[in-house]
């Protein structure tokens, strides 16, 4: 048996309706080791951590602690075994004080009453160990996100831990606080604690970890004791962006959308641009530069104070999404779960949500035609779903996003606005989405692309419109739009 390992997971499998989250994962952790766990969104990291922490139960597989098989029936049972998990999302009680939250799992009592003095002492000691300052008596809801994260960490460290699991613990912290956390984690390693460290920040993982395990699609695809960045990224991604045949330069067609002097008080000022058939126009800018505001205005979701629009040379007035739809403008919003899909509805019903008037007569939906339409599109975009009648809820992130795209392809748009089309989807789905968008543009649609992923924006866009503080700074064509130049332009105001 694996007596030398502190924690050993063997053949862990876990499936949710419609999704296999973990597929035979082996993972082990030694005492006095920091073990980095990395993977793209949806690779299965969170599920694995939930199983270690007793929040979820594996469908198959064994968990051994110190060589003994253990059954982790609940988070409480896991804690009793000395396994502490710092979750990505906070599990704090907003109305209780910092000190009470830190001691919540084992409130010191005297004669059945909470011993306030002991609570403050224990919490104070836990915070002191972290090397930070927190107001012990303040209710947690008054704290900043960073301070709440520190409370969460202090809480996990307030009791003896043999295994400490940290899921993105640095996401909300400043450099100074991260340094303090890292030295603390290293101190725990010296004391023989086994630490699982999960982070999207590759530098942190490389700096801290003795060993790194890479998950992809619910399986371990690599484990290395001498982690190198290139190798890890290659394992995580499984495919290089460069391999994609992104955009064969084609001669753009006639003007499909002309925007002149678009203004909306407090959001953007005097924005003008032109978009041709077969062209992708990228909107570059930092958060608050006005990219999404412009997109929502073009789609009739947000008010317009001044300015004019022409679609294929004809002046149009867009005051509602219905107007936009009639004018042939589609909008893939930035959050597919809250804005893109009705999750409780089926794939079929979501797909035709914007097309129903076209496939109905006198308000009566032609269901046979709907099925045929959706079936063809699901096939074409390779949307993986158990059936057309499965709820959108059960699809993976990438397939949900393709479903939102399908909804907009169905209206046969003249102009399609794509707001963060690949956010939070795995690499394979990303490539498919790029292909879909490229094909769409080749077919003569004009696309407007918003993406915080700069390499993606530059790879896809024929021209890039640079925005800052709601104003157009400049337009760069493909040759001019280098990463350095765009970064410089979008942040100039902030740097000055």
């Amino acid at each position: 048996m694996s007596a030398e390992h502190l924690l050993a997971l063997r053949g862990i499998a876990k499936a949710y309706p419609g999704v296999v989250a973990l597929d035979g994962v082996d993972f082990d952790l030694d005492a006095g080791e920091i073990h980095g766990l990395v993977g793209e969104n949806g690779a299965g990291k969170s599920t694995l951590l939930k199983i270690i922490g007793g929040v979820e139960h594996a469908d198959a597989g064994v968990i051994e602690l110190g060589g003994q098989p253990v059954a982790m029936a609940s988070p409480r049972a896991a804690r009793a075994l000395g396994i502490r998990v710092i979750h990505q999302e906070f599990n704090l009680i907003p109305a209780l004080s910092v000190a009470e939250n830190i001691c919540l799992d084992h409130l010191p009592t005297r004669g059945g009453w909470v011993d306030g003095q002991a609570v403050r002492e224990q919490a104070g000691a836990a915070i002191a160990r972290l090397g930070v300052h927190l107001p012990l008596e303040a209710p947690v809801r008054r704290l900043s996100v960073a301070d709440q994260q520190l409370v969460e960490i202090a809480r996990a460290l307030s009791a003896e831990a043999r295994v400490l699991v940290m899921d993105e613990p640095t996401a909300a912290l400043t450099d100074h606080e991260i340094e303090a956390l890292f030295s603390l984690v290293r101190g725990l390693r010296e004391h023989g604690v086994g630490i699982v460290f999960v982070s999207h920040r590759m530098d942190e993982v490389l700096e801290l970890s003795d060993r790194v395990t890479v998950l992809r699609d619910g399986r371990v695809v690599g484990e290395t004791a001498a982690p190198r960045r290139e190798e890890i990224v290659r394992l995580m991604v499984g495919r290089q962006l460069e391999e994609l045949n992104l955009k064969a330069d084609m001669a753009p067609g006639t003007e499909i959308l002309a925007v002149d002097g678009l203004s909306s008080a407090g959001r953007f000022e005097d924005v003008s641009f032109s978009l041709r058939r077969g062209e992708i126009l990228g909107l570059a800018g930092v958060v608050g530069a006005g990219r999404t505001s412009i997109a929502k205005t073009l789609f009739g979701m947000a008010p317009l104070d001044r300015g004019s629009l022409r679609i294929a040379g004809r002046a149009v007035s867009i005051r509602s999404p219905e107007d936009a739809l009639r004018a042939g403008i589609g909008y893939l919003p930035e959050d597919r779960k809250t804005l893109g899909l009705v999750l409780a509805m089926s794939v079929r019903h979501n797909e035709t949500l914007a097309t129903l008037p076209r496939i109905s007569r006198f308000g009566w939906i032609d269901q046979a035609r709907e099925r045929a339409l959706v079936g063809r599109r699901v096939e074409e975009l390779r949307i993986r779903t158990p059936s057309l009648d499965a709820q959108a809820l059960h699809l993976s992130g990438g397939n949900q996003q393709k479903l939102v795209l399908a909804k907009w392809l169905e209206i046969r748009p003249a102009v399609l606005i794509l707001d963060e089309p690949t956010r939070g989807v795995d690499v394979g789905a990303k490539a498919e989405i790029y292909q879909i968008v490229t094909d769409l543009v080749r077919a003569g649609v004009g696309a407007i692309l918003i993406s915080s992923d700069l390499p993606e924006l530059l790879a896809l866009s024929d021209r890039v419109l640079v925005l800052r503080d709601g104003r157009t700074i400049t337009t760069l064509d493909r040759a001019e739009a280098t990463q350095e130049r765009v970064l410089h332009l979008v942040t100039m105001g902030a740097a000055a």
């Binding site: 309706p17 296999v20 699609d217 999404p321 219905e322 009705v342 949500l353 009566w364 990438g398």
Partner: protein, 329 residues
């Protein structure tokens, strides 16, 4: 997802009972079990007279519940329908006395639809929560009812009017025919029309519906108009059955109609459920009440039993939902 996991996901999804759940069939089985039990326990339950009697008693609440289903599916709630039954009844009877039965019926239904329109407009334009607006309408409509009638019952002498509440088509009481027609139309509208699809979309995710270029405001107003119109039909049927418009008619019916919808398993958060199940919910409540009467259960205890049944039924459907939802995230 790789080919491998894709295959697994497909198998798993196929194994998972699709759209079949305790909530779907449990309710039907509970209804059948209740009927069988009562048939064995009482000699009168399974007589055609008693069954038609139950149907007639259920019809008014069931018609209201059909309208309530539209509203709740769109993630709203209509607390005003009880008072609208009273108001539409006295208006229909009053106008019928002066201008004939046709005008009376039109006036009754028109007032119901108008009240629903006012509800919907107040909710959408002044942005007051559904709960508050319809609670206010519950009070105001009862007041208008009392003002119009002077607090006195208005008797109905038109045979046509009485036929709607007390007549028969063949062996079937007219209220049952009207109820079945209302449910058939509601079912078809919700299942086969663009509007029905929009009701589910707006209730399931209002923002996503708006981002799909659906006129959310129009849909949300329309469901209140439908609910008001059906309250008018219920008011007319009840008035015809009693041959009198009672200003106090329909007190508390809004809660009975909501109970039928909830018992049917339609989500109070909107977007999930069906009008067919609402009919089942209304029938269960009706048979329960009829059965307890036949078994000589005191009316005081009957109300307690009804409360317990509602909670139990919803608890069962929740268990089922929890089981299928856990881990979906």
């Amino acid at each position: 997802m790789t080919e491998h996991t894709d295959g697994r996901a497909r198998v798993l999804a196929a194994l998972r009972p699709h759209r079949i759940s305790i909530a779907d069939y449990g309710l039907l089985m509970a209804f059948v079990a209740m009927c069988v039990g009562l048939a064995l326990l009482t000699p009168t339950f399974l007589t055609s007279q008693n069954i038609l009697n139950v149907g007639r008693q259920v019809s008014v609440i069931a018609i209201l519940a059909a309208g309530q289903t539209f509203v709740i599916l769109a993630a709203g709630i209509d607390l005003s329908v009880g008072s609208l039954v009273g108001l539409t009844g006295v208006v229909a009877a009053g106008v019928a006395l002066q201008a004939g039965v046709g005008a009376g019926l039109l006036a009754g239904l028109g007032v119901g639809a108008l009240a629903g329109l006012v509800d919907g407009l107040a909710i959408m334009l002044i942005r007051i929560p559904d709960f508050v607006v319809t609670l206010a309408m519950l009070s105001a409509a009862r007041g208008l009812d009392l003002i119009y009638s002077g607090g006195e019952p208005i008797s109905v002498n038109s045979p046509t009017f009485v036929f709607l509440g007390g007549g028969y088509i063949g062996p079937i009481p007219v209220p049952i025919v009207i109820m079945l027609a209302v449910f058939a139309v509601s079912y078809v509208v919700l299942r086969y029309t663009v509007f029905g699809r929009y009701v589910y979309a707006v209730g399931g995710n209002r923002r996503a519906a708006a981002y799909s270029a659906i006129n959310v405001r129009r849909v949300r107003i329309a469901v209140y108009v439908i609910s008001g119109l059906l309250a008018g039909i219920a008011g007319v049927v009840l008035t015809g059955r009693l041959a009198t418009a009672d200003p106090q008619a329909g007190v508390g019916y809004e809660l009975d109609s909501i109970a039928a919808v909830v018992l049917g398993g339609t989500s109070l958060f909107g977007g999930e459920g069906s009008v067919a199940r609402t009919l089942l919910g209304a029938l269960i409540l009706g048979v329960l009440s009829n059965g307890m009467n036949l078994l000589d259960v005191s009316p005081f205890y009957q109300q307690v039993v009804e409360g317990v049944v509602i909670v139990l039924a919803v608890a069962i459907s929740h268990l089922d939902e929890l089981r299928s939802r856990v881990g979906a995230e």
